[in-house]
């Protein structure tokens, strides 16, 4: 069973997205990338990201990741900041450390695509 299902599937993920989105918005290192007037669209993007990270149903490809982050000039510091915010989100949801490690392992595989390396 994926962590996505364990957390309660699509319905529960909305609450997780809210927590995560609040964290990145409040994180000076990366908030500029998340602070837009179209909060609904941004929320949907975070939901897609968390769904991938938690192993939920998605058809996201490395190519999509690459395309979505292409013109953002992200560096390793940005990537790590978002990963930390994700860890803090999962801790807030009382996800056990072993599961958090699994999630971060999945996220790490997207690094080259996100940073367009």
């Amino acid at each position: 069973m994926s962590l996505y299902d364990e957390l309660g599937g699509a319905a529960a993920i909305d609450a997780a997205v809210d927590i995560f989105y609040r964290k990145v918005l409040a994180d000076d290192r990366v908030s500029e990338f998340f602070d837009t007037t179209d909060m609904e669209a941004q929320h949907a993007k975070q939901k897609a990201f968390l769904t991938v990270a938690l192993g939920g149903p998605n058809n996201y490809t490395g190519k999509d990741m690459r395309e979505a982050h292409k013109h953002m000039n992200l560096n390793e510091g940005h990537f790590n900041a978002v990963a930390e915010d994700l860890i803090a989100t999962l801790e807030e949801l009382n996800v056990p450390q072993a599961k958090i490690d699994e999630v971060i392992a999945v996220v790490a595989t997207t690094k080259n695509d996100v940073l367009n390396l």
């Binding site: 909305d14 609450a15 997205v17 809210d18 989105y21 609040r22 918005l25 409040a26 602070d35 007037t37 909060m39 609904e40 929320h43």
Partner: protein, 327 residues
């Protein structure tokens, strides 16, 4: 470059150009308004279902099934066959019953029209075949005046505007107007036990009033806090109506906030000079579990939405009616 086949004739569409702009550029008389996929003035119908699907967000399921699409949002890269929907996409005719000035540049209009709606939704009003603007509904369908159900609109007049001066002055009671709608989802949908925060500035009060009436109509149980902001004291209107509702409902509290009381006018007890963002942050520091409704100028709605979200309100529990500027 894609072609647009519109009513049997071929038009060109430049890369990145919308169907709406392409047709208007080549002399077609197409209705338009916001160019943002909000007012539905530009809605047309297309044979290419796949392409239509990508530009339907916000249309009703019935409209989507009929392959209606937003011409302002559609930038095709293949040839499309486009028509106008039957009966102008469902425009209805209304009659202006009366109009009163409620603030120096704000008018309250009552329009009789056959329309099923939910309070807080909006309609798009047309001055002629092609020029439309959206206005929100302050009325409740259960209200009636001498047996007639009227739509209540609050219109702020913009000096050189295409629609608002016409609605506020030129259109005369007894004359008819063409309306499209209703649309929008800033409507009362909270659970009765959920505390509510309703905040609006200027004529954002119109949809707020609609939502408030519906919450009271559904006997909302938890607290309801209404914050109404205006730049100056003279910009406040409907205050007696709101205070009357507050007096009749123990769970309802209404406050009026003036940004700048320049002339040191005496303010009644429900009114204070305060910055609405700051006031909200100080008085509602924890919005977890709240249902939040934000209405009025786009900049206000955007800033407040972020603030309320960071203050703990769930994204799904924040409803907005943002008065984007048309153009």
């Amino acid at each position: 470059m894609a072609d647009i086949i519109f009513e049997g004739r071929v038009y060109t569409c430049q890369p990145g150009e919308s169907v709406l702009d392409a047709l208007i550029r080549q002399g077609c008389e197409i209705a338009s308004g916001c160019r943002a996929g909000v007012c539905q003035a530009c809605v047309l119908l297309m044979d290419e279902q796949e392409i239509a699907r990508g530009c339907q967000q916000g249309l009703s399921p019935a409209q989507q099934k009929l392959n209606h699409f937003f011409a302002c949002q559609c930038r095709p890269d293949a040839t499309v066959h486009v028509r106008r929907p039957a009966n102008a996409g469902g425009r209805v005719s209304g009659i202006l019953r009366c109009r009163e000035q409620v603030a120096p540049d704000i008018y309250r209009l009552y329009v009789s029209a056959q329309m099923d709606y939910q309070p807080g939704q909006y309609v798009t009003i047309f001055k002629d075949q092609t020029t439309g603007r959206s206005y929100s509904l302050a009325s409740h369908p259960e209200e009636s005046s001498s047996g007639e159900r009227l739509l209540e609109l609050h219109i702020k007049q913009h000096e050189s505007g295409a629609l608002s001066p016409w609605l506020c002055h030129d259109l005369q009671p007894g004359e008819s107007v063409s309306l499209l709608g209703p649309m929008g989802n800033c409507i009362y949908s909270a659970n009765p036990q959920q505390p509510l925060l309703l905040a609006g500035i200027g004529t954002g009060l119109a949809p707020l009033l609609g939502v408030l009436k519906d919450a009271l109509h559904h006997q909302h149980q938890a607290s309801i806090n209404v914050l109404v902001g205006a730049t100056e004291p003279s910009g406040l209107y409907c205050t007696e109506q709101l205070l009357g509702l507050a007096a009749a409902h123990a769970n309802l509290q209404v406050e009026f906030l003036i940004q700048n009381n320049r002339n040191n006018q005496a303010l009644d007890p429900a009114t204070r000079e305060a910055d609405i963002y700051q006031y909200c942050a100080e008085n509602f520091p924890d919005l977890k579990g709240y249902g939040v409704y934000l209405c009025g100028a786009e900049s206000f709605v955007g800033k407040m939405r972020k603030q309320c979200f960071l203050g703990g309100a769930a994204m799904a529990d924040i409803s907005t009616d943002a008065f984007i500027v048309f153009g």
